[in-house]
Assembly symmetry: C2
Homo-oligomer: 274 residues x 2
């Protein structure tokens, strides 16, 4: 079965393996790209992570994650900006194709989502010069509206693209089917993103019915209700030729299974969506 | 404290009282409007429900609910249309100001949300003549995108208004803060709905952080992150002068408390949002 074009977001096997073990497992399965998380890199050390990725000939489809810009006070917002600059440096060291941004939700105690959105725009503008100097594209990931309060107040592809356009080049989007599949404007906005050459990442993950947990009950492709072939068609039509990254948070199911079984299943289902 | 303009969606006290008890309790608390659910009406019988509402001088801000149009086959879709006509008749008997529509999600086994959306439009068109003959306005309630798979494939106010416009007069929207608070286009779409005189209902319910259950962990106003005064301002600016309906599904919290305590709290929080 094909593994070309496939990338594994290492959150998918975060309970089974550390970063080095996960990278080696991907290599064993013929997978040639990964997207690691910052805590996974920190757990083994950046140098060890870089070496594991280089030694195994892995591409890095993205680095998870920057963002989390809103904060209750200016010091908190500056700390977020500084932390994003460090994330950019790590992403560059890893050779990542982009830094994935989960922009953040409402600051504690706030009910002002408009203000949070302005903090996101300001934070992005503040880190963009460093990203450009580091030649690190920033990929805004619109998250499902159910995360608007606590994780990301950018909740549609249209909103992410509007934001990217105000910032200029080197800012694009990571499109994750889990977050955007429901959007009545999805086809039109994917086409728009393609015309603007702003699709920096494409992630796949299924929406289960029922979904039993807001964060950790995401589905393997084919187990839910998303029409991957249709969305893939729109993505290809939009001119995206990059990697397809599988990212599944699944506390009660996939995180409990042997990592090799998860990777085998990912490869099977990836082929079924092609 | 004020109770004028306040309506209680009877799902809010569905575990405490049957319809007659709930209506009498609302009257005791000085509340002059309710929105009953079909199963609550069926449990006591339509005639008994009508009498309880009339005897207590209640307005009926809406009737929950019609919709659920998509089905795997034509017979299922026709059954849904027939059932919606019965719902319209019941709503008319109750003197409801509108029939609230939760339009339905994907039919079992389907991954085609576009097809489901077309079934919704077709179903609405099929019941509209009966609604008009019964002088019963139809209020499409856009549901939060996390229900797109199983409950409602109309997920934004814009989408609901686009649909209403294709159908013509007598079709509008029920705007529930819980479902739409996250939408970056909310202010603009409320204004649009007002210009088109299509706001048939305004429901309030808070979004809790964290939300522990996708269906039954909704919050009392003030306990979550929604800025009710801001949204109320937009609603008033849009010219809406109708009732404000409190609708809270809360299995682990409010449904476990004495109904009188729930109603007292609703009245306090309603006043705080004015």
């Amino acid at each position: 079965m094909r593994t070309d074009g496939l990338s594994i977001n290492l959150a998918t096997v975060r309970q089974q393996w550390n970063l080095v073990e996960a990278v080696e497992a991907c290599a064993r399965h013929g997978i040639k790209a990964v997207d690691p998380w910052r805590d996974q890199v920190a757990a083994v050390g950046l140098d060890v992570a870089v070496r594991a990725i280089k030694d195994n000939g892995m591409q890095v489809s993205g680095y998870c994650r920057g963002g989390m810009f809103p904060a209750a006070d200016a010091a908190g917002r500056q700390a977020a900006i500084d932390d994003n600059k460090r994330a950019i440096d790590e992403a560059a060291a890893l050779g990542a194709q982009c830094l994935v941004l989960v922009v953040g939700g409402l600051p504690a105690g706030s009910r002002d989502i408009g203000a949070a959105r302005r903090m996101v725009a300001d934070g992005l503008a503040a880190v963009l010069p460093h990203a450009r100097a580091s030649k690190m594209p920033l990929a805004i990931e619109p998250l499902h509206p159910m995360y608007a309060g606590d994780r990301a107040c950018v909740n549609t592809l249209k909103q992410a693209l509007d934001l990217a356009e105000t910032l200029g080049d080197d800012v694009g989007v990571a499109i994750d089917t889990y977050h955007v599949w429901w959007d009545p404007e999805l086809e039109a906005q994917i086409a728009r993103a393609g015309r603007a050459r702003r699709i920096f990442g494409y992630h796949i993950c299924d929406w289960l019915v029922p979904t039993k947990d807001l964060l950790l009950d995401r589905g393997m492709m084919g187990d839910g209700v998303i029409d991957f072939q249709r969305v893939r068609g729109w993505i290809e039509q939009a001119g995206y030729t990059g990697l397809t990254e599988v990212e599944i948070f699944s506390a009660a199911n996939w995180w409990t299974k042997p990592g090799d079984e998860v990777l085998r299943t990912v490869i099977e289902r990836y082929n079924a969506t092609l």
